[in-house]
């Protein structure tokens, strides 16, 4: 079967003469968590926007289960669940209505969504806020709504942008547990984050982006070998990469 997410030689950004990312190639398979690591401005968000189809590639291709977005727009989009870095909520909808709208948009059947929704509300301790409007939510609660919407649709690929910021420790724990469950169920997860210790503990592979290019990628073992630093942890490797000034 074709890779879940296959990015080949991607160049992208907002202007063709000044691409933000170049020659980016990597894959995400079912049943793995891949960490997308890099400094601010390294091109993580641009890469994510390309995967979501918000930007068109300047060069290169993005395949999801062997198909580009142009080939089958709706099934491409249906396969991706997105958790944005800053929560994006409808001020007019309650938490419950956010879940229902998401279920409708992603074609989760009426039988399935309510059970899942109730379970998620339980897990993320949002029972009291079920019928609240977002204006009464704290930053962390807003982030939880995003997390719940993504898990509600149980997509094949999760694209997760800085998920831990703003969540309380219990929330982070629940999120990690969920991600691991979904991974066991066969989903792939691409997660961008700055919390390197958490990433090192939970990601199967890493993609280190630096100045718009893939600096290295692989498992912890492979990264250590490439950097010739057999004892190094992710933090050290990361700092090493940032010392490398414009290649």
């Amino acid at each position: 079967m074709a890779s879940l997410l296959h990015i080949e030689d991607l160049a992208g950004g907002y202007s063709p003469s000044k691409p933000v990312i170049e020659e980016v190639s990597f894959q995400v398979e079912s049943g793995e968590i891949v960490g997308l690591i890099g400094l601010n401005g390294a091109g993580k968000s641009t890469t994510i926007k390309h995967i979501l189809g918000l930007l068109e590639p300047i060069n290169g291709t993005i395949h999801l289960r062997g198909k580009t977005m142009a080939e089958d727009l709706d099934s491409y989009r249906k396969r991706i669940g997105f958790i944005p870095e800053t929560p994006i909520l409808y001020e007019e909808l309650t938490l419950w209505e956010h879940l229902r709208l998401t279920a409708m948009a992603y074609g989760v059947s009426d039988q399935d969504w309510q059970g899942r929704a109730e379970q998620l509300i339980e897990t993320f301790r949002m029972k009291k806020m079920t019928h609240w409007f977002p204006s009464h939510f704290s930053k962390g609660m807003r982030q939880k709504v995003m997390v719940m919407c993504a898990f509600l649709i149980e997509p094949e690929l999760y694209v997760v942008d800085e998920p831990f910021v703003g969540l309380d420790p219990v929330g982070i724990q629940s999120l990690l547990e969920r991600m691991i469950t979904m991974k066991k169920n066969g989903a792939g997860i691409l997660m961008s984050t700055h919390i390197l210790s958490t990433a090192e503990k939970h990601c199967d592979r890493f993609i280190l982006l630096h100045q718009g290019r893939v600096y290295m990628q692989g498992t912890m073992e492979e990264l250590r070998k490439q950097a010739e630093m057999p004892e190094a942890d992710l933090d050290t490797l990361y700092i090493e990469m940032t010392k490398e000034e414009s290649l």
Partner: protein, 405 residues
């Protein structure tokens, strides 16, 4: 830093933005509302004067009106939040800036006062003792008193606590009531005595207060923002002002029916836009306002020109449509609609059917109002016909143009 330059730049920036909004408002029905109001005044003023019973306390009403206008003497300062950091060190050199702000505010408030007294001139000449000369003198004196009030207000808000602000306002209101009361009766000597007392208070009370209290920047900024916000809210009534966050209301009675729609992908946007329409401050409010104004115009249409009713219905249905259409872009700042696996066609269909329903309800309302007035019944039927035709036309063809724009 040159304070006069800064003032010029600030007021220019404000007006550039304000004019843009005023233009948008003119497109969004402000022009019609203003013309409508002026026409109504023109039509009814004379008969209103004749109808007004002789026992009506004109003097009292005008006294309170003008005392109120004098007492609320806001100073536009155009200060911004960042000034708390950047202008604070220059407070000592802000004198010319503040003088400009005071003169600017005086000119505006004075103009408003002038305009209102001008509009009320027939009432003044008809019911109050003064003749034309007295009216002119009164006008000039009121505009001068406005300056006194503006300076007083400006001094008062240098005090720390809002309780002190409102106490001073009330006292000033009392003074203004007495002053205007004498003025409107052409009791010149009494008015002059009050004016002298006011000047004495200015020198003996307000001057020391001015020197004893430094500027309260946070008060200034809060007031400035309040004023800006009320302008944006007004603009928002006619056009779409993005950064005015309208409050969300639960409105269970209107939102609940959308909970019962069938759970399927094609209904995603009916659900979203339905709840948005029900709860956002923007749409329902505008529809109701247009419904009320339209109904008033239908009611007021002169019997000889009963075809006016049809024009009003057509126009107001169209205007309601123009306001409703903006719901299509309501969530554009949010990312979700652009990544949902739902075809764009289904989003457009949802907006079309929403708008169609709202316009048909509006049409029905106008038809009922027409039937209740004295115009022939056939007009109500025609109004219904015109309204339905425009509703269908707007939601089918005009919306397509809007989507593609």
């Amino acid at each position: 830093m040159n304070p006069v330059e800064l003032w010029r730049e600030r007021s220019r920036n404000y007006w550039n933005e304000a004019i843009r909004y005023i233009r948008l408002m003119a497109n969004g029905g402000l022009a019609i509302a203003v013309y409508g109001t002026l026409l109504m005044i023109g039509f009814y003023y004379q008969s209103f004067l004749e109808w007004l019973p002789a026992g009506f306390p004109v003097l009292l009403v005008l006294t309170i009106l003008f005392a109120f206008l004098l007492t609320r003497s806001p100073v536009r300062t155009f200060v911004k939040e960042g000034d708390l950091v950047f202008l604070l060190p220059f407070e000592g050199q802000m004198g010319p800036y503040i003088r400009k702000a005071i003169v600017y505010s005086w000119l505006w408030q004075g103009a408003i006062l002038f305009l209102i007294l001008f509009l009320l001139a027939p009432l003044y000449l008809d019911r109050l003792p003064g003749e034309l000369t007295a009216l002119v003198v009164t006008m000039a004196v009121l505009v001068a008193a406005q300056l006194w009030n503006i300076v007083a207000e400006w001094t008062e808000i240098r005090q720390q606590f809002s309780a002190a602000h409102s106490r001073h306002r009330w006292l000033r209101f009392v003074v203004n009531v007495v002053f205007v009361y004498f003025l409107l009766q052409t009791a010149w000597w009494f008015a002059a005595v009050i004016a002298l007392i006011m000047l004495a208070v200015m020198v003996l009370y307000y001057r020391p207060m001015h020197y004893n209290h430094p500027l309260k920047w946070e008060t200034l900024i809060a007031r400035e923002q309040q004023r800006l916000h009320s302008f944006y809210r007004l603009a928002n009534a006619f056009t779409d002002v993005r950064h005015v966050k309208s409050t969300v209301h639960r409105r269970r009675w209107l939102a609940a029916p959308f909970e019962r729609i069938r759970h399927q992908k094609a209904n995603t946007y009916i659900y979203l836009y339905g709840k948005t329409f029900a709860r956002s401050g923007d749409y329902l409010g505008i529809c109701i306002r247009l419904a009320v104004v339209g109904a008033l115009l239908i009611y007021a249409a002169p019997a000889a020109w009963d075809w006016m009713v049809l024009v009003v219905v057509g126009l107001f249905i169209y205007m309601t449509g123009a306001q409703m259409a903006t719901i299509y872009n309501h969530h554009d700042v949010l990312l979700w609609p652009s990544i949902y696996p739902v075809p764009d066609m289904s989003r457009r269909r949802a907006v079309k059917s929403m708008v169609r329903w709202v316009l048909l309800v509006q049409t029905f309302w106008f038809a009922v109002i027409t039937a209740l007035t004295s115009v022939p019944m056939i007009m109500a039927a025609l109004a219904l016909l015109v309204g339905v035709a425009i509703s269908l036309y707007y939601s089918e063809f005009q919306l397509n143009k809007y989507f593609d724009a």
